[in-house]
Symmetry: C2
Subunit: 319 residues, 2 copies
C-alpha cells in the first residue's frame, strides 16, 4: 500500500524550496504513484520558468565536473539550480543520489541547489514521461536552470536532446572527435559545444575540427542557431562563465523566435504519448487479469475467431 | 503503394503447397501488409495441425546443423516440414533467405520443406505478432512440424519458449553448461535437452550435469513433464531419431493433458496484445499526423491543461 499523500501541502512546501518535499515529489514520479495526476495538475501553474539544459558526451568527457562547474557559475549569478541525473540503464533509484551528493560535494549543502538521480525502474518507456515530470517538479520549486545529465549509454544522447531546451555536447581533445561527433549525429543535437580538458594537447585542433564540421553543415543556413564551440577545464572551473553566457544567449535567441515554444511542444508530445501508452498498457494488464484477453486468445486457438477480430474485441474492451 | 493482393487465390495456392505463395504470404506478414487481416481470417480454418518446435542455444551450439538433422529425420518419416529462422536483431528481411538456402542445402530443393528467414524490420514489438502469423502461414500450408530457430541474442531464448509448443535447448560439452543453463533460466524453458557435438570430450559429464540440475529442480513434481537429455552429433546426423521420438512423446503428453492448448492460448494472448498495441500505435501516429497530439501538447506547455488531462483527451480521440 502507498502512503496517503497530502498533495497540496507537498506542492506548497516544494514551491517554498523545501528539499525534502522536492525529493518526495520526485520519488512519487519515479514510483509512478497514483497521486501523480493530482501532483502534476497542482504544479502546472508554477512551471515554464526554468531553462532546461541537457548535457551529453562520451564517458570520461567530464559530464559531472562540467555540471559542477556550471552549478558554481550559476550560483555566483544568484540562480537557483536543479540537477537531474537520469540513468536509463539502472534499475536502482534514489540510491544513486548518495553518489551524486558526494560527487557534487561543492553544492550538496547549498539550499539553492537541488540534486537528484532518477532511474527507469525498468518500466517500459518510463523515462519518456517521468523525466519531464521530474523537470516539472524542479521547475515549480523555483529552479532558474535545470541541468539534465544522462549517465547511461546508447541512444541517450539523442534522447536528452529531446528533453532539453538547450543541449551541451561535451568533447575532449583528440580522438578525431569531430568526425566521431558527425557520425554519431551529435553535431545535429548540440546547441553549445564544449571542449573540456582543454589544457590537454590537441584542444585547439578539436575546436577547429568541430567548427569546420559545423561550417560544412546545414547549421549555417539563415535563421538557424550557429552553435558556439568553447573550451573549458571544468576540474579547475575554467571557462564556466563563457558557457553560461552562451546558454543565456541561446535561451534569448530561442525565446525571441519561437524555437523555445516549439521545442517544448515537441517534448510535451512525447510526454503525452508516453502517458497514453502507459495508461493503455495498464488497462491491458487489467483485462489480462480479468482473463478477457485470454478468452479471446482461446477463441483464436480454437479457430472460432481470427487474431485481428480478437484484437478488435480487446480494443473495444479497453475503452 | 502496395500491390493488390488476391488473398483467396494466394491462400488456396499456399494450401496446395506452392512455395511461392507461402513465401509471398510470409512477406506480407513481414511488411505488415494491410491485407493481413483478410489473410489471417482465410488461413484460420486450416491451422492448428503443426507441431511447433523452438530450438535455442548459445552461438556455436549448432542450431543450424541440428535443424538440418531434424529436417532430414522428419522427411524420412514423410513429414512436411517448415523452418522459420527469426532474427530479432536484423533490420534485413528475405535477404537472409539465400544464406539459409545455402546453409540448408540438403533440403533447399525438397518440395516438402519450406525454409524462411524473417527479420523484425525494426518495428517495435513486431516479432510478437509477426512470428505467430508466419507460423500460421506454414501451418495452413500443411506443415506437420515447424522448427523455429532464433538467430539473435539476448532475451530470444526465453521468447522462443513462448512461441513454441516444444522447446529444444541445445548445449555443447564442457564449459559448465549445466550451471550456465540454470543461471540463464534455460533449465526452465527446455522440454528436450540436446547435448550436441557429443563426440567431444565431456559430453557424458554435461548430460549428467543437466540431468542432475533437472533432478534438483521442481520439474520432478508429479504431473510435470520431465525433460529428456539426449546426445547428438548433428553434423553427422547422429541421434536425430531419438530427438524426433522425444518431440513426438512430448507432443502426445501435451495433447493428452491439455498443456498444448494452454501453451497455445498463452501464445495467442501475446499475439493479440501485440496486435492491439500495434493498432493503438498506428492510431496514435494518425493523431500525431493530424496534429491532435500537438494541440494537446501545446496546451500543456501553455499551462492551459496538465499532461494527464491531455493524455485523457488523446485517449478519447484514439477510440
Amino acid at each position: 500500500m502507498s502512503r496517503a499523500v497530502d498533495v497540496p501541502a507537498l506542492v506548497e512546501q516544494a514551491r517554498a524550496g523545501a528539499p525534502r518535499a522536492v525529493a518526495r515529489l520526485i520519488s512519487l514520479v519515479e514510483s509512478a504513484h497514483p497521486a501523480l495526476r493530482e501532483v502534476m495538475a497542482a504544479l502546472m501553474p508554477h512551471t515554464g520558468h526554468a531553462h532546461v539544459i541537457g548535457i551529453t558526451g562520451s564517458p570520461g568527457a567530464g559530464k559531472s565536473t562540467t555540471t559542477n562547474m556550471l552549478v558554481t557559475q550559476l550560483r555566483r549569478a544568484g540562480k537557483r539550480v536543479g540537477v537531474l541525473a537520469v540513468d536509463p540503464s539502472s534499475p536502482f533509484s534514489g540510491g544513486a543520489l548518495l553518489g551524486d551528493r558526494i560527487r557534487m560535494g561543492d553544492h550538496a549543502s547549498d539550499p539553492g541547489v537541488f540534486i537528484r538521480s532518477m532511474a527507469s525502474r525498468g518500466h517500459l518507456g518510463g523515462l519518456s514521461w517521468s523525466t519531464p515530470q521530474a523537470l516539472r517538479v524542479l521547475d515549480a520549486a523555483g529552479c532558474d536552470v535545470i541541468i539534465v545529465e544522462t549517465v547511461g549509454v546508447g541512444q541517450s544522447e539523442v534522447e536528452i536532446a529531446g528533453l532539453a531546451d538547450t543541449t551541451i555536447v561535451l568533447l575532449v581533445p583528440g580522438m578525431g572527435d569531430g568526425i566521431q561527433a558527425a557520425k554519431a549525429g551529435i553535431l545535429e543535437i548540440g546547441d553549445v559545444f564544449v571542449v573540456n580538458k582543454a589544457d590537454r594537447d590537441g584542444a585547439d585542433a578539436t575546436v577547429r575540427d568541430i567548427r569546420h564540421m559545423i561550417a560544412m553543415s546545414d547549421r549555417t543556413e539563415p535563421g538557424r542557431w550557429r552553435p558556439p564551440v568553447l573550451k573549458t577545464v571544468a576540474a579547475r572551473l575554467e571557462g564556466g562563465a563563457e558557457v553560461v553566457a552562451a546558454l543565456d544567449e541561446h535561451a534569448a535567441w530561442m525565446t525571441a523566435n519561437g524555437t523555445l515554444h516549439r521545442r517544448r511542444v515537441a517534448r510535451a508530445v512525447n510526454e503525452v504519448e508516453a502517458l497514453v501508452l502507459a495508461e493503455l498498457r495498464s488497462r491491458m494488464g487489467d483485462l489480462r487479469e480479468g482473463h478477457r484477453v485470454e478468452e479471446q486468445a482461446a477463441a483464436v486457438v480454437e479457430r472460432r475467431t481470427d487474431p485481428y477480430s480478437a484484437a478488435d474485441r480487446v480494443l473495444a474492451a479497453l475503452n
